[in-house]
Symmetry: C2
Subunit: 309 residues, 2 copies
Amino acid sequence: MNDGSRLQGVLSPVCTPFSSDLTPDPQRFLQQCRWLLSQDVGLAVFGTNSEGNSLSLEERLELLDVLVDNGVDTRRMMPGTGCCALTDTVRLTTHAVELGCAGALMLPPFYYKDLSDDALFRCFAEVVERVADERLRVYLYHIPQVAQVPITLAATEKLLKAYPRQIAGMKDSSGDWTNTKTFLDAFASTGFDVFVGAEAFLLRNMRNGGKGCISATANVNPAAITRLFETWSEGDADAQQARLDVIRDVFKKFPMIPALKAAIGHYSGDATWANVRPPLVSLSQNQANALIAELESKGFTMPGLAAVR
Amino acid sequence: MNDGSRLQGVLSPVCTPFSSDLTPDPQRFLQQCRWLLSQDVGLAVFGTNSEGNSLSLEERLELLDVLVDNGVDTRRMMPGTGCCALTDTVRLTTHAVELGCAGALMLPPFYYKDLSDDALFRCFAEVVERVADERLRVYLYHIPQVAQVPITLAATEKLLKAYPRQIAGMKDSSGDWTNTKTFLDAFASTGFDVFVGAEAFLLRNMRNGGKGCISATANVNPAAITRLFETWSEGDADAQQARLDVIRDVFKKFPMIPALKAAIGHYSGDATWANVRPPLVSLSQNQANALIAELESKGFTMPGLAAVR
């Protein structure tokens, strides 16, 4: 039940900058969010590529406040709010809704595995009931290779029946186009907004009724990805898609999150960006050099990106 | 490097009671802990069977305080303290150490998968360095079928070299005796204390230099499991083990955590115990009836267990 005000387009699971003591750095975070917005990319903060689950609840609440207190447009924000503990998910989601965030990207609780459809339904239903706010728009987050708790078709159908306004769509990060197509075919016509988890699927998603993508590499290649979203029905769309894939394929040769941060660090001249929290490990200097050399060979740039001084 | 004061024996990942609104119930929790201690079973609160990761950090801190404020013996406590966020793990572990808890049962961060040995090492090393307390005793928690992040031999070896006093042992919940034996053979002689994750392996563990078990079914069958620990070198040990297995096998026919809570609810006459947090689902009435009928047929009882009135 899409009322026309909902999110669409390209969003970035914004990389979270850490100081050398591994505390989140609000100034760098704010600057990165502003740069992404300047490239017409929305803010899916606290996603997988944000190391969102490596942040405490308090750290996430505080970073959200920093953005909103500094005038970042909440209509372009879809924070990740799905935690293992029901009470954490409710608290973070409630805060996001109260701040005016356009959506909440919600993982299922991901510690216990092998959930039945009814168990999965109950996880999200409890959150919707407890947040109890008409403004809540939930995007179900399907990333089975990481969370190991998939979002199923049957649970989605049951959720849509129970909460047609609150269940707004999904992010499909499975990398399995057959799965994306199944959800599009089943629910897109009823106003369920499907975002793919990588721009590699952006054109196919748009041609099949999807609404955009939420992609790791939107952290580093935002303008080009947005251009494809805006012009996907034009004649050069396949050529654009091919060029996007070339850049994404470079990043895919390395551990993704450390590679994104190494690139942001390099192109902003701000090496602090390379820091990651455990369990992640920064690229070695050799890896970082190889990444940048390969990006340069493809003519890659990050225009307008600057260091925090 | 076991200084002789360390935990051994049988511990229970204490089931966490929830009120009908799914808030943790401190009175029932305290009573259950006291009952387990009266059966000579230690308290591995906030384990997998405790729905520990379904509790917020604040809820865990508060429940720990309830136990300690009410005089529960911290020398018998090994709370689960491993969270996805480094800052949460450090805060909860620090609190446990400051309260005097004998150990901390530590999951690795479990959102990201496919960690290298070095990445795994760094996760625990950062916690040890940040807690920075000589009293800290870490028990590495290996439960790959749930966490999907295994504790490896190589990472353990590196941790033991770096922190011989702090890395006290492990809980092996893999259910794979070959894995347990590998860790026992590699490290037990140096004072690394191996607990198996089910009493089904208790006798084998004791015969091979292990120190006990931390088992779901110690919530419901504590005295008999403790008796095997105390008399494992006597002539009837195999017969005792066989009797323990009969009871555990009944519980294994049902979803374990809801079945434990159904049994505690039934034998205490306190039906509130059946409540579980999402993503878990309570047993149906039919399932609960079948569980109790089968337990009765084996002569099972829970002596001394009483309802909170």
